[in-house]
Symmetry: C2
Subunit: 321 residues, 2 copies
């Protein structure tokens, strides 16, 4: 590894993702500083030996990268609060599930600041600093939005950090990532909530007989409901995903009611899941251009290395075989 | 432990459940014999050192307990095949997910035989003898149907074996167990299939971004589709469960489309799941009577011990606190 692409990183919000990121980035040899509006979270991080600033303005002072890691409802206020205090040329990113609201807020509230929306696909039901894990991002896909107004050099610099963390930068746009997330994050959460509720609505006997399939199917219903809403609400792609899922379920329901089998749905679902598990990938070298990056993400690929030498940038990645 | 309640047990069907049971029962010191129509499964069990009979008639010869552990579509033929060969007083049971079809088949095809329908709530996506595990049933709920024509002594004898295996006999009826299973087994499987399919229908980018929530939500879509159909098809309770789930999903869909939040569903689902995890139980002593047993199961309880002494049977259990 050459020198990390940032020498000082500020992480605002020290919950599961922010806390894990603070710890992981420090282990790259980067100077880090954290901040949390919640004094208990700040105190916990400080007690663990991490530098924590008393204000967000102090945290971002001199930082080359500022990470917004607070819950989505607090992001707008945070951008407005720190924008005047950012160092010249500082890069702003976030780690939220939905990218469109944050890209919009950054353009509106910090128009002179370079913002690259990010979304690490990592997490467990537990939340807060005490659940933070510096290895949380190993092998995790990490969506990085490359919008029409995103400076390519900034995107590449952030992608390099994501690679250094052992994660997989997936080039995308805010619109495309939110559409995908509606299906693979929003939909699983809404289905888990519906299962958690409906599965046990038949009475105490069902509570006794609920076993592995109920347990894994409803696992993410353990997540705090307020967090689930920040991943679901306001995403039009989730409406479409729910329509599709409801259509499949209604088809199965009609089949059963008519004395037919759920086999067609079971076969299709099984094939989708198994094909997903069996995907294989091949190495590629990419032109460091926006169109090539977006195409890589659309095809299901990601960046594995951003290499710099005197001739410029070399970009390596993986794409489905 | 006193002497096991059966001295010789035959297990017909040596897949995951049957194979695990053969191994677990032998570890109680009981003489066991297996049988499988599939010669490869029979050879695998035999190669592992378990006695395997060449025919089902030979397997059940002299057995005090005969366990039907083949897939549901093969159960009717198996009952018809072994009924003439059962030892006098032999008890017949099964391990399938749905109880009504098997109770009906046993009454019809083996009217003079005592049948007690059973359903251990244990399993993984893997199938076959090679996935068998003698510890599979530890702490597993095990529905045992006590029908109006079930001899109580036979039910108690089987419950004693289930306790010896470290599992939890849940007294129920075929109708009640199938209703509960529609919600906690059938529904999670159909939802998992719908998620597996719909989640990935948005294109390759979604395949990259699918993470923990997709993975756990679609886990049981890894199960062979033909097995899933045996747990779902023909169960009217699953139609009702699907109607309820579809209603919740449609409500969430309408909320999102109207710019409202999924919070009400997320809160209700979260509460159901957390309350389920936090259930606590208290010890009870039961009258060994059918009504008391059924009431225990309906209340979410199970049997923990069947004790015999000169005064008769003592029955201990747990019920929700």
């Amino acid at each position: 590894m050459t020198a990390p692409p940032f020498s000082r990183v500020a992480v605002l919000g020290l919950g599961l993702i922010g806390g894990s990121l603070l710890q992981a980035v420090r282990q790259l040899g980067v100077e880090v500083v954290g901040y949390d509006v919640d004094s208990a979270a700040a105190a916990a991080a400080s007690a663990s030996g991490y530098p924590v600033a008393p204000t967000d303005a102090a945290a971002v002072h001199g930082a080359e990268l500022v990470v917004l890691a607070m819950p989505l409802p607090e992001v707008r206020a945070a951008i407005a609060s720190v924008a005047p205090h950012l160092a010249p040329g500082a890069l702003l990113t976030d780690v939220g599930t939905l990218k469109q609201p944050v890209v919009t807020a950054a353009r509106e509230l910090a128009p002179g600041v370079t913002f690259v929306g990010g979304h690490p696909l990592a997490g467990v039901e537990e939340t807060g600093w005490n659940a933070a894990d510096p290895l949380l991002f190993r092998d995790a896909p990490w969506a990085l939005a490359v919008e029409d107004d995103t400076p390519l050099a900034s995107w590449l610099r952030l992608a390099e950090l994501v690679c250094d963390l052992g994660a997989k930068p997936v080039p995308t746009t805010a619109v495309e990532q939110d559409a995908a997330v509606g299906r693979v994050i929003g939909l699983p959460h809404v289905l888990a909530e519906a299962l958690a509720l409906t599965g046990l609505a038949g009475g105490p006997l069902g509570l006794s007989l609920a076993a592995g399939s109920y347990m894994s199917g409803s696992r993410v219903a353990r997540t705090r409901p307020e967090l689930v809403t920040t991943w679901c609400d306001g995403n039009p792609a989730l409406v479409q995903a729910l329509d599709d899922a409801i259509a499949h379920l209604t088809g199965a329901r009609e089949a059963l009611a008519d004395g037919r089998s759920v086999l067609p749905l079971a076969q299709a679902g099984h094939a989708a899941r198994i094909n997903w598990e069996r995907r294989r990938f091949q190495p590629v070298e990419l032109t460091p251009e926006v169109d090539a990056l977006r195409a890589l993400g659309q095809d299901g690929g990601w960046v594995t290395a951003v290499l710099r030498d005197d001739d410029g940038v070399r970009l390596l990645g993986m794409r489905p075989a």
